[in-house]
Assembly symmetry: C2
Homo-oligomer: 145 residues x 2
DNA sequence: TTCCCTGCAAAAGGTTTGCAGTATG
DNA sequence: CATACTGCAAACCTTTTGCAGGGAA
């Protein structure tokens, strides 16, 4: 999955398949995450909506429900960095892992094919069927050393 | 660091260095984690103490304070698996990563030298000084497929 | 028309903090 | 003897839930 329209179409399809309803709120939450530069917490998503969609009168509970739903159907992913709590990102971005500066909070995304391959091999060896994975390297970035 | 006594000695040393006090409660929390089979949440540590140290009248707040302290001085590490909340493990165990079954919660620990090496290389390329890292592979284990 | 989804507010869960007393160095 | 640490309870923050009303199919 690559862009915003495709993700929105995917959402419509999934919702239909499951006999559920397509709502503006779910679309807004998904689109916020698609266009976000950073990883956002539930509250940050809520604030974004309050700021950018002043017409929409969304409740925080709906944001939580939408996030759970979107994660369940695999349109978004959550990760937890240290004590910062749960944050979400759109799966429309291609897969990557994270380098995290524990001083300033800077996050660098990266991908290493060899690591990806070895992860598969480890899973197979342990007879796991992998659906997902996350890797975080913690340290200090150049500026903070 | 390898065994319980060494970790306790390390704790005494650190506490002394910082001009802090060595307390039974900190020692108990650390030893619980050292002897734990699993990764424990704050509340699980608290319950263990309540069960195994019936003489000690520890409060949950003290457990949280001890865990934060021990993590800060790098004697224990916290990880967060999905929605299960924060869990702690002793650093006296050697480093490893985690395979996690999203169905039954089973956790398999593993280590892959090649991945460890590549992580170092990636950090260097991005000019990060790594202090720590964690990697989780999520999926279903043999029994749950 | 059906019933899924929403907003609101209350509840729940987990973690932190203030305070007075306790115990360590 | 100074003061860091503790237990308790209250406060806090984040997330979930119950419910009545509203909107998509």
């Amino acid at each position: 999955m690559i862009n915003s329209e495709e993700a929105i179409e995917e959402l419509k399809k999934i919702v239909k398949q499951k006999g559920l309803k397509y709502t503006e709120q779910r679309e807004i939450v998904l689109s916020i995450l698609i266009h976000a530069e950073d990883h956002l917490s539930a509250e940050e998503v809520y604030n974004e909506i309050k700021t950018k969609h002043t017409d929409s009168n969304i409740g925080i509970a709906t944001v939580y429900r939408a996030l759970s739903f979107l994660e369940e159907v695999d349109l978004i992913t959550s990760i937890t960095f240290g004590s910062d709590g749960k944050k979400y990102e759109s799966n429309a971005k291609s897969h990557h892992d994270h380098l995290i500066c524990t001083e300033c909070g800077k996050i660098v995304e990266f991908l290493d094919d060899e690591i990806e391959k070895r992860q598969e091999r480890i899973a197979k060896k342990n007879k796991f069927k992998i659906t997902n994975h996350s890797m975080q390297l913690y340290g200090t970035c150049e500026d903070c050393q």
